[in-house]
């Protein structure tokens, strides 16, 4: 087993992946292994009993949304009954921010990696405020979600078909030169997304209200592009997964209780540790005690070298991590210590267009003790309150150490 060669192949696949947003579909029709009684969630596997507030709220909301339960009590009973199944999004080539809850009738973005042919999926971003992904499940929340899934999403899907797909790799490269890092800041990318869709939307024979609502959605939501970007990252990471001997991390995700990783050469196995609580700035009225432990699949961005790994590209948000623009540069420089390659497709202006640090090597993480930096939104620990801040989090070292142990075991077989 030649680790260096395996890693080279894994990283090469990450660098060569070419994710294209090809359309929008219903989860049940598109996501492999999707079933009506299945609830996908962010992060590594977690049973109902151990789910944190926001994830529980989102699960209840999804059961109500799907009509599997008529009210809250019934939803709670159902969730704890074992009659619905919970599985990680990541087991189904899917990613979702925060709770990441995705069920059969929801609309999902479909991203295809044109180089390797694999696909990845992500749900639609509901914007800020009281939203399902933070665990809100009131009638108003579900109504907005339905409007998004049934009206806006199909319109965007038609526009994407009309344009023949949107090259997300190019979009990410561009947003990194416009002050986004692709995880906490997506304002430039979302503007690019809206600009790309608009001329096609008007050619799709949409009724004026749908057209208006769709453009309004794109105009109002700074996070609109986050979900397709995440799916692009997932399609990229999956291409590097399953290479024998490779020590490259292909997935990092949190479920609000645990943080978990997967490693290219270690199959579907999760390596987990307790999810840490982010450090950052809080919106007015919220404090540390209100914060839920870290949650969401959005760490797929860091997994392929953007997000906090591209912090040097996003000086506008360094205050979330209590720093200066120089600290942003230092943050990215530090990530080169634990990665195997630089992604020349994603040049960072402040670093003279040096490529983003790409391909986390579990060996380097354990050797240096430098854990990956993660930019993240902070969820309130109570379901439904929503985002209460944003900041930085470092995962625990244990999952990386476990992975090193597992690799050695595999090697000695």
């Amino acid at each position: 087993m030649d680790i260096e060669a395996a890693n080279q192949l894994a990283v090469q696949r990450m660098l060569e992946a070419q994710p294209v947003l090809v359309g929008v579909a219903r989860a049940l029709d598109a996501i492999p292994g999707m079933r009506p009684d299945l609830v996908l969630h962010a992060g590594p596997p977690v049973p109902w009993e151990r789910m944190s507030g926001p994830l529980r709220g989102a699960v209840l909301g999804a059961l109500l949304y799907e009509g599997l339960a008529r009210d809250e009590q019934e939803a709670v009973r159902l969730a704890s009954s074992g009659d619905v199944r919970f599985e990680p999004c990541h087991d189904h080539a899917t990613v979702g921010p925060m709770a990441g809850v995705t069920t059969a009738s929801m609309a999902v973005y479909v991203v295809e990696n044109r180089t390797h042919g694999n696909r990845a999926y992500s749900n639609f971003n509901e914007g800020y405020g009281r939203v399902l992904r933070y665990g809100a499940y009131g009638a108003d929340v579900l109504q907005r979600l339905r409007h998004l899934n049934e009206r806006v999403a199909p319109a965007i899907g038609r526009a994407l078909e009309h344009m023949g797909g949107l090259d997300l790799k190019a979009l990410i490269a561009r947003q990194l030169t416009m002050g986004d890092e692709g995880h906490n800041r997506n304002v430039a990318g979302s503007a690019l997304f809206a600009r790309a869709l608009a001329p096609h939307l008007v050619r799709c024979d949409l009724d004026p209200d749908t057209l208006h609502d769709t453009l309004r959605y794109l105009a109002d939501n700074d996070l609109a592009v986050l979900n397709p970007v995440m799916a692009a990252c997932k399609a990229t990471a999956d291409a590097a997964h399953g290479i024998e001997g490779a020590t490259v991390v292909t997935c990092m995700a949190r479920n609000g209780t645990e943080f978990g990783i997967r490693v290219s050469g270690l199959g579907p196995r999760w390596f987990t540790g307790p999810a840490p609580t982010p450090k950052g700035l809080y919106f007015p009225g919220f404090r540390d005690e209100d914060a839920n432990p870290d949650i969401g699949d959005s760490t797929i961005t860091e997994t392929v070298g953007i997000g906090a790994f591209a912090m040097a590209a996003a000086p506008a948000i360094v205050r979330f991590v209590g720093g200066t623009p120089q600290d942003a540069v230092a943050a990215t420089l530090e990530m080169y210590e634990i990665t195997l390659a630089e992604n020349s497709a994603f040049g960072i202006p402040a670093l003279d267009f040096r490529g983003t640090p790409t391909g986390i090597d579990v060996r380097k993480v354990v050797r240096t003790g430098i854990t990956p930096r993660i930019n993240t939104g902070i969820a309130h620990r109570e379901p439904g309150v929503g985002q209460i801040g944003a900041g930085l989090v470092r995962p625990p070292l244990e999952p990386f150490q476990q992975a090193v142990r597992a690799l050695v075991e595999l090697l000695s077989r």
Partner: protein, 583 residues
Amino acid sequence: MVRARIQRSSYHDSVALLQAQRALRELPGVQEAGVVMATPANLELLRQAGLWVQELEGTGPDDLVAAVRAVDAAAADAALRQLDALLSRREAASGADYRPRSVRTAAAQLGGADLALVSVPGRFAAAVAEEALREGLHVMLFSDNVPLEDEVRLKALAGQRGLLLMGPDCGTAIVAGAGLGFANRVRRGPVGIVAASGTGLQEVASRVHRAGGGVSCAVGTGGRDLSDRVGGQTFALGLAALAEDPATEVVVLLSKPPSPRVADRLVGMARACGKPVVVNFLGARPPDRADGVHFAETLQEAADLALRLCGLEPPEEETPEPQARLLPGQRWVRGLFAGGTLCAEAQVVLSGRLGRVWSNAPVCPDAALPPGGASREHTALDLGADEYTVGRLHPMLDPSVRDLRLRQEVEDPEVAVVLVDLVLGYGAHPDPASELVRAVRAAQDRLRTAGREVVFLASVCGTDLDPQGYQAQVATLREAGVWVAGSNAQAARAAARVAEAAGGRLVPADRMQLEFGDEAAPLPPVPERVRSLLAGPLRVVNVGLSVFEESLRAQGVPVASVDWRPPAGGDAEMMALLARLGG
């Protein structure tokens, strides 16, 4: 009242420890303080300094120990509470500059680097050196306590890659005009040096400078390079590089007597190199021949021969004739050396006149003192030897080990002479003369009470360009009644004269015999990268002691320092697992 604090599995730059220790000593109510890694030698030092407490039992080399003796418990505790702040790393000047964590990222920060200067603790050093070689950097491996098999492996790797590996245990070098490690500032000139001995290199380079000459390049090889196992690989490459180097007119080779097989090959190469070569295999003087190879018995002689070959006159003999009223029975010489080669040179000179000289680093194998053992008869101690330096600073940086020993030696009523070396230069203690004078004055006070006198004799290895200033250091010593000679060999001769007059002459030792064949041996090819290293300019990645970074900056050499930490946080199990994964 002694209080101690233990931090398990902790690592700090040893200079940081020393600075913390000094700062603790200056706190109110504190009488004595020690901040060390808990090696057996260091624990012994704490014991001797009256800093022992029971809880230090069972600590090991990975544990940081701080012990404070103070007027009361409150003062001791207050001092220990300062420890964390004292040890916390200094912020970079801008507060935001990134401190790279690996050789690769440090080299990238410099926009490319030529050489890595590695001074991390020995058991981690081979891995860092390998990392640097794999990144295509030449390496000066300052660290000692590196296993021999690692040295063999690393030198093979360097050979494959066309790189120069100086060390392990390479204390000094001068490359492209820059002094690396412990290095004296000398002007550039026609003398090239290859040395398996650090202070030997410094003594010769300094003397050449003081006589108006200069040094083109000085390659350190590490003390084991000329062993059979290593086979003189770095030495041969250094010689070949100097033979080609247009700035070098005369080559000086310095070593303790090497393996005869390797020595023979080396002398053969010297014959073939096309330039005059001065060879000093300390203590051996094979007959000179008319083939361009000149043999010198001492470092001083090697320097003087090289000077003459460049058309320069060596400095005049400067051997003091110390006066002291010695009591009957005061007849032994006790040498306390920071420089290992200076210790060996002193043994050669002393034993030639007085007979057997005991040592922890004996030139004659039958004169071995056990590590840390008490002195007997004539003794010369190498205080930079491993047993005194594991987990603590070299005495050139922290002379406290010598201060302690000096106190012990003058307690011995049979001691007539205390002989010491002072090594100046970059990386060395900022004012070793004042440190020594403090210890000498304290000893003189006790001697006065005891009604005895002892002769204190010193030589100073350094130049007027060194940060400490050669003349100023000599003046400080003389003012305190320390006799100062013009070279280490001269100081040893003066010591021998005093001891001889006092009846300290035993049976003088025979001179060592070394014979060489007549054949010339081919020089190894010089890789292009080694040639361009010598030509400069030089960019250095520093991994380890921050004093070396500071000295390179003072010399105007671009340098990036790695913020080095033990791999896997020092977790031995994880390190072993990582090694299996080739990471």
